[in-house]
């Protein structure tokens, strides 16, 4: 403040905006910012605060400071937490290693206009139109003990094939269902990106004698950097915030623990406790950590 250089610089900058500019800016930046802070960051901050308390969610006067007790409870006494972490990690690996690459492959094939590409495009995109909750309902109808698939196999509920209750396979059943939608999502994003890649680049590559794979790896893929970033971030976020499908199929019971359902189970209902808030903070840190790190390195290399 006592530096005149800074003052004059600021004054100079301020003069560049007319009164009307300032009003417009305040309206266009201020109002969304206000709601963003109010509806996203204030609750997020309060959740962090609440995660260090004991509270049943009823009458704020009963709140008690708990220190790290909720976290200690989660990390050391709650086996479901580690199961959930394991499920979320497998989910992430599956999405990153299988579902997302498949979506990219599909997008690439459709972009090359292989035979029947219109059909594939529609077929794979269809599930994306449905919300995850609806996806869960559909697959639950199909795969539950008295569902369509067991009916088709001629099995009654006493000898039904167990898709959701067999813990050797149910993770993969759920992941297949989730991928059914995720693949189409990624495909569409990538397809939009591919359409915007300049055809001249590819022609140049093929004139230089590059193979299909080389063209993709060395020319198309690097040209798609902005889309790639979005795809990676979406893959991470979708894997960590997974909730809908599991909730529809398993309800609030921890029949299939993932972080999303653990949060809900501990924060909703009669048994509400701030352990749920602590789960939410853990998920928050897990989601935001890798994303910030990734975006930072990406933008840093951009600047260089």
């Amino acid at each position: 403040m006592n530096s005149t250089a800074v003052d004059s610089k600021k004054a100079h900058r301020r003069r560049a905006f007319s009164a009307a500019d300032r009003t417009t800016l305040t309206a266009f930046v201020g109002i969304p910012l206000f709601f963003h802070l109010l509806l996203v960051w204030v609750p997020a901050f309060l959740t962090i605060v609440l995660s260090f308390t004991y509270w049943s969610g009823i009458s704020i006067s009963r709140i008690k400071f708990a220190g790290f007790a909720n976290y200690k409870n989660i990390f050391f006494d709650t086996p479901a937490f580690w199961e959930a972490i394991q499920n979320n990690v497998v989910w992430l690996l599956w999405f990153a290693g299988i579902a997302t690459p498949l979506g990219i492959l599909l997008a690439y094939q459709i972009d090359r206009q292989i035979r029947g590409h219109k059909f594939y495009e529609t077929a794979y995109y269809l599930p994306v139109v449905l919300s995850l909750a609806v996806t869960g309902i559909i697959w639950n109808f199909l795969l539950r003990p008295d569902g369509f698939v067991n009916g088709l196999m001629g099995r009654d509920i006493d000898n039904a094939f167990s898709f959701f209750g067999n813990y050797d396979i149910n993770l993969y059943v759920i992941l297949t269902i989730a991928s059914w939608r995720h693949i189409g999502y990624i495909m569409l994003l990538y397809l939009a990106g591919l359409k915007s890649v300049d055809m001249a680049l590819r022609e140049a590559a093929s004139l230089d004698g590059a193979t299909e794979w080389q063209t993709f790896k060395k020319v198309v893929f690097p040209a798609m950097k902005p889309v790639n970033i979005i795809v990676i971030v979406i893959t991470i976020i979708e894997s960590l915030r997974a909730f809908d499908i599991v909730y529809i199929i398993y309800g609030t019971s921890a029949g299939f623990p993932i972080l999303g359902t653990l949060i809900f189970q501990n924060i909703a209902g009669e048994g509400a406790s701030m352990k749920g808030a602590a789960y939410a903070v853990i998920l928050f840190v897990l989601s935001i950590g890798p994303i910030i790190a990734y975006l930072r390195t990406t933008f840093k290399s951009d600047v260089q």
């Binding site: 009458s59 009963r62 003990p145 039904a160 167990s162 609030t252 509400a272």
Partner: protein
């Protein structure tokens, strides 16, 4: 507003319907204090969207409105969703009276000041109920916060026709050895012996309750629920040991089925027996009268002669008045009617859409037991044999322990019964980590 409505007749208030309702919000406690002549329109929150309970509620409400001219707005929510939202519901703008359960689940909310005191209602209808129901309706402060509607026992259900085919009768399965022999016989016939589902996370709690009560007795069970005994106790391991003996006779997809899936096994004659609360008799009746007539219940067999069959899980369902409702006095007035034999009779007279009566065992002494059907008489016999009545695991212990901790623990036990030591260790650790009750 409250001064205006206070002291004038019920009917004149109704004329100013909406205004009267608002006025009573402020005057509620005042009115409750002077003999609970509640009036004005009120809202009723139902904890079920099923056909049977809905028909019962509608009959009760129609009878109340016919008598008092007070209009009742009916709001129904599916039971799981209702339960999940209850805290928020009670702190927001709840219906004046809502369906809930007796025991710890009621006391928990009463203690937080979210339920209205119904001591006056009990003053009017109290002599129509046995003492045990009054105790179950009483909060930790000694006041009543609940009006009971109905009860049902948990026991072994089977189909009379199947029992006959297997050459069995109720007297031949009174103890554990006979019980296992029965299950073995069923298995040899290619049946599921002990139909079970635990996908919902609560169903199998009933099995834990009853085996614990049979092996270790009522007092140990109650003390365990209250945290005075430890989950790591050898006695708890003994419960799981007995439970494990039943696993070979269960359907293999326990974690795939919810309670209604297990019920289907019995309904379709694929299973010989099922431990469940008798409330599902209504579902059998909806299926057909013949299926309902075929249904039968006996107490869970004796395991430890010291405790014989002296305990039964018999949850009581009923109503509370939400303290934050707009018309507490109206809610209390409604419950005074609903709990009175007049209201009970209206509920009992309810018919489903096919014109069939809906089976209910009322908590009110006034229900003529000679009108009980055969299945209800058997339920009564199960109750009469028991000296001690428990509510159900998730009604007898802390809500932040039952749902989020015990439910998943039992599910992981089903995944791998060999993990039992780890599971009880974690149960105790999680109990110890619970925040102190305010």
């Amino acid at each position: 507003m409250s001064d205006v409505t206070h002291g004038i007749s019920r009917r004149s208030v109704l004329k100013g319907a909406a205004v009267g309702g608002l006025g009573l919000a402020a005057g509620g406690s005042l009115l409750a204090g002077c003999g609970s002549k509640g009036s004005g329109p009120l809202a009723y929150g139902a904890r079920s969207v099923d056909a049977g309970p809905t028909a019962q509620n509608e009959a009760l409400i129609a009878a109340y409105t016919a008598k008092t001219k007070n209009e009742v707005k009916y709001n129904a929510t599916e039971s799981n969703a209702f339960q999940n939202n209850l805290s928020q519901y009670l702190q927001g703008t709840p219906d004046d009276t809502f369906e809930w359960m007796a025991g710890y689940r009621m006391q928990f909310f009463a203690e937080q000041g979210l339920l209205a005191d119904l001591t006056d209602v009990w003053g009017t209808i109290g002599d129509q109920y046995a003492e045990s129901y009054k105790i179950a309706s009483t909060g930790l402060d000694g006041k009543q916060y609940f009006v009971p509607k109905s009860w049902y026992p948990w026991g072994m259900h089977f189909r009379k026709s199947m029992f006959k085919d297997l050459g069995l009768s109720a007297d031949t399965v009174t103890n554990w050895d006979e019980f296992l022999k029965m299950l073995d016989g069923m298995k040899k016939k290619g049946l599921v012996g002990f139909a079970a589902g635990d996908k919902g996370g609560w169903e199998a709690m009933g099995t834990f309750d009853i085996i614990n009560a049979r092996v270790n007795g009522y007092q140990f069970h109650v003390d365990l629920m209250a945290g005075r005994e430890k989950w790591t106790d050898a006695k708890v391991l003994d419960v799981f040991k007995h439970w494990e003996m039943l696993v070979p006779y269960m359907n293999p997809n326990v974690l795939d089925l919810e309670w209604d899936g297990a019920m289907q096994l019995l309904l379709q004659k694929k299973a010989g027996a099922m431990l469940m609360g008798s409330w599902f008799g209504g579902n059998f009746k909806e299926q057909s009268q013949a299926d309902y007539d075929d249904l039968s219940i006996i107490p869970f067999p004796e395991i430890n002669p010291e405790h014989a069959r002296d305990t039964v899980d018999a949850p009581i369902d009923g109503w509370c008045v939400a303290a934050n409702g707009t018309n507490n006095a109206g809610g209390a007035d409604f419950l005074a009617f609903a709990g009175d034999m007049e209201g009970v009779q209206a509920t009992l007279d309810a018919k489903d859409k096919d014109g069939k009566s809906i089976p209910m065992t009322s908590a009110n002494k006034g229900q003529d037991r000679s009108t009980y059907d055969a299945f209800q008489k058997e339920q009564m016999a199960v109750m009469d044999e028991a000296k001690y009545i428990t509510q159900f695991l998730d009604r007898d212990t802390r809500p932040d322990f039952a749902g989020p901790v015990v439910g998943p623990a039992i599910q992981s036990w089903f995944k791998n019964p060999k993990d039992v030591n780890k599971i009880v260790d974690s149960l105790q650790a999680q109990w110890d980590a619970l925040p102190p009750l305010a």
